[in-house]
Symmetry: C2
Subunit: 353 residues, 2 copies
C-alpha cells in the first residue's frame, strides 16, 4: 500500500514521499526535526489536508524528541513547535485540528518532560493516521457496494492515498472494491491546471496495478455518451447542509454529463467535510488561483505573454446532479436537507436555521 507519510521508529524519522517529483521520480524525504517537516509542508512535498495533518502531528513528536537533551521551558518549546507547523499552510483545516489535538494530549500528560511528551505526541500521531485510514476504509466499503463487477468508472483529481493517511476517499472505493474481488476499469481525468489526476492518481493507481487509463478532462464527455463509463466518483472539499458539493474545478461538468446520459455520479467524503453552517452553493467562496498555473505547464509557456486568465480552483455541484454521497457514516441518498443530518449525525446549527 502507498504510504506517503510514514514514521520509522528505528531511525526516529518521518519519511515523506516527495509529491512534487511524482510521477517522474519516486523519492522519499527523511525528516528528523519539526523544521524539516514544516519545510516539506510549505514546499508541498506532502499535500492533501488529511496527509498534512498527519505529517504535522509527527512533526510535534520529532520537535519534542530533538529537544530532550536541551534545557529550556517545556511549554514554550511546545508552543514554538506548534506555531511553526501551523504557519505552513494557512487554510488547511485538518492541519490546525491535528496540531491542537496533539498539543492538548501532550500538555495534559507529559508533566513537562520532553521524552514523555515526544512519546505521547508520537502515539497521538499514530492514532490520527490510523483513524484517517479507518475512516477512508469505511467510505471505501460503503462505496464499493455501488460498483458492479465488470464496470468502468471515472474519477477526477486525486482523492487518494497520497492526499490522505493512506487509503483515499474516492480512490478508497476502488481499493475496497478490489478487496471484495471485483474486476473493473478506471478512467482518470488529468485535471488541469495542476494535473493531479495525471501526476498523482495515475501514478497511485498504476503503482498498485489497477487497470487505469488516463484521459484529458475534455475526453470524459464522449466516453460517458458512448456508454463506456458506468459510474463517476470524486472527492469533495466542502459539502453544505443541503448537499451542494465544492470540489476540484471540472467536477460540475462531469456531474452534468453523467446526469444527461443517465450515469450515476457519486461523491466520496468523510463526515468532517460537511460544513453545516452553509446551505447553498453560492455561500461557498471559490478561490481563484495564480494565472500562471494556466499559462505555464512544468515551466513551459503555452499561452501568449500576460494573456488574461480565469483560474477558479473549485466548482460547485448542486444536489440534484448527485446520485449519492458516500460517507464514513453511510450512504446519503437521495440528497436533501433531511437525509444529510440523519446519516452524518450533525444538524445545521440552531442559530442559523
Amino acid at each position: 500500500m502507498i504510504d506517503a507519510v510514514s514514521y520509522h521508529s528505528e531511525s526516529g524519522s518521518l519519511e515523506l514521499l516527495d509529491q512534487t517529483l511524482l510521477p517522474v521520480e519516486i523519492r522519499k524525504v527523511r525528516c528528523t526535526s519539526e523544521h524539516e517537516v514544516a519545510h516539506a509542508i510549505v514546499s508541498m512535498k506532502v499535500r492533501g489536508a488529511p496527509a498534512i495533518g498527519v505529517a504535522a502531528a509527527y512533526g510535534i513528536a520529532l520537535g519534542l524528541a530533538s529537544k530532550a537533551n536541551q534545557s529550556g521551558d517545556f511549554n514554550s518549546a511546545l508552543d514554538a513547535i506548534c506555531k511553526l507547523l501551523a504557519a505552513t499552510r494557512p487554510t488547511a483545516g485538518n492541519l490546525f485540528w491535528a496540531i491542537d489535538r496533539v498539543k492538548r494530549v501532550v500538555l495534559a500528560a507529559a508533566g513537562g518532560d520532553f521524552i514523555k511528551g515526544a512519546d505521547l505526541a508520537l502515539k497521538e500521531a499514530h492514532a490520527i493516521k490510523a483513524e484517517d485510514i479507518a475512516m477512508c476504509r469505511r467510505i471505501g466499503e460503503f462505496g464499493a457496494t455501488l460498483l458492479k463487477d465488470g464496470e468502468t468508472w471515472l474519477t477526477h483529481c486525486n482523492a487518494g492515498a497520497l492526499a490522505t493517511a493512506g487509503y483515499g476517499t474516492a480512490l478508497g472505493v476502488f481499493r475496497a472494491a478490489r478487496e471484495q474481488g471485483k474486476n473493473f476499469k478506471i478512467f482518470v481525468d488529468e485535471t488541469r491546471p495542476l494535473l493531479q489526476g495525471a501526476r498523482l492518481t495515475a501514478w497511485e493507481l498504476s503503482q498498485e496495478g489497477f487497470d487505469a487509463t488516463l484521459i484529458c478532462d475534455n475526453m470524459a464527455g464522449s466516453l460517458i455518451r458512448d456508454d463506456r463509463v458506468q459510474g463517476v466518483v470524486v472527492g469533495a472539499d466542502r459539502i453544505t447542509s443541503k448537499g451542494f458539493v465544492a470540489n476540484k474545478i471540472g467536477t460540475y461538468p462531469l456531474a452534468v454529463l453523467a446526469k444527461y446520459n443517465g450515469v450515476p455520479f457519486y461523491v466520496a467524503a468523510p463526515e468532517s467535510t460537511f460544513d453545516m453552517s452553509l446551505s447553498y452553493g453560492d455561500e461557498i467562496k471559490i478561490e481563484e488561483r495564480d494565472h500562471n498555473e494556466v499559462r505555464f505547464i512544468g515551466g513551459v509557456q503555452i499561452a501568449p505573454d500576460n494573456m488574461p486568465v480565469y483560474n477558479p480552483a473549485f466548482d460547485v455541484t448542486p444536489p440534484e446532479l448527485i446520485t449519492a454521497i458516500i460517507t464514513d457514516k453511510g450512504i446519503i441518498r437521495p440528497i436533501y436537507g433531511q437525509t444529510i443530518p440523519e446519516i452524518i449525525g450533525r444538524k445545521r446549527p440552531e442559530s442559523l436555521s
Copy 2:
C-alpha cells in the same frame, strides 16, 4: 488582419507564419520553392485544412517559376510538383482539392510554358485564398446576427484566421460582430491535448485586441452555470446529412453544458464541411492519436512512464444539442434531415437514401 499565408510579389516568395512557435515567438518562414512549402506543411508550420490548401496552391506557382530557366518536360515537372505537395498531409481534404484545381487550370491554358504556368497557378492560388476569406466573411456575417451587444461567448480549439486563409469560421463570427460595432467578451478553452485554444486562438484574439480570457477546458462548465456565458460557438471538421457534428474533442461536453443551462450552442462551418454521404454520428470514424500527446506537454512529462492513455482527436455532437449551424449559405435552424439540404443546396446521394 492576421495573414498566416501571404504571397509577396516583389520577392516572389510565400511567407508563412510559423505556427509551431506561437505564441512564444512570432516568426515568418519565407518559401521560394515547392520543396520549402512542402516542408512547412509537413512540419506543421502551416496548419488547418483551408490554410494548407492555399499554401499548396502557392507552392505550385513557386515550383513552376523556379523551373522557368531549366529545360525539361512541362507536364512531368508539374506532375512532380503536385505529387510532392500532395504527399505532405495524407488526410487533408482541402489539400488535394486545391492542388487539383490549380493543376487543371495550368494544364488547360499554360501551353507548356513555365512562366505562363507559374502566372496561372499564382492567379488561381490568389483566387482560392480570396474565395476562402469571402466564405468565412459570409459565415461571420450570418453568425454575428446571433451575438447581442454586451454578451460573453465561449469558443473551443482554433477555428480562426490561422486555420483558414485569414478570417476564420467560429472566430469569423467575432470579427464580423466587431465590424458591426458590437461589444462583447470571449472565453477561450485551452483545448487539451494540443492546446490550440491557448496557443493559437488566445494569440489570434489578443493580437487583434479582442477582450479574450483563457480558461482550462474544465472551467467552462461553471462559467456557463453561473450565467457568465450567453453563447458558445465552435468550428466543425465534418457534419453529416442529419446534422451530427464531428469537431475537436471537448465540443460535445460544451454542447451538453450549454443545453442543460439553456445557453445557445452554435457550430460555424462552410458548406464544404457537410458530408452528405453520412447520416448518423457513429458513421464518422474518430481518429485516435499518439498517447504521448497526453503524457507530455512541450516536452515535459506529466504522467507515469507508459501510462495507458485514450486520446481521441474528435467527438460527435448530435443535432438535438445544437441551436443552429452557421454556414456561408445561411443559418440552419432547427437542424434535421430537411433543413440542411434546403440551406446548403446539396442532398444526400440517391444511392444512399
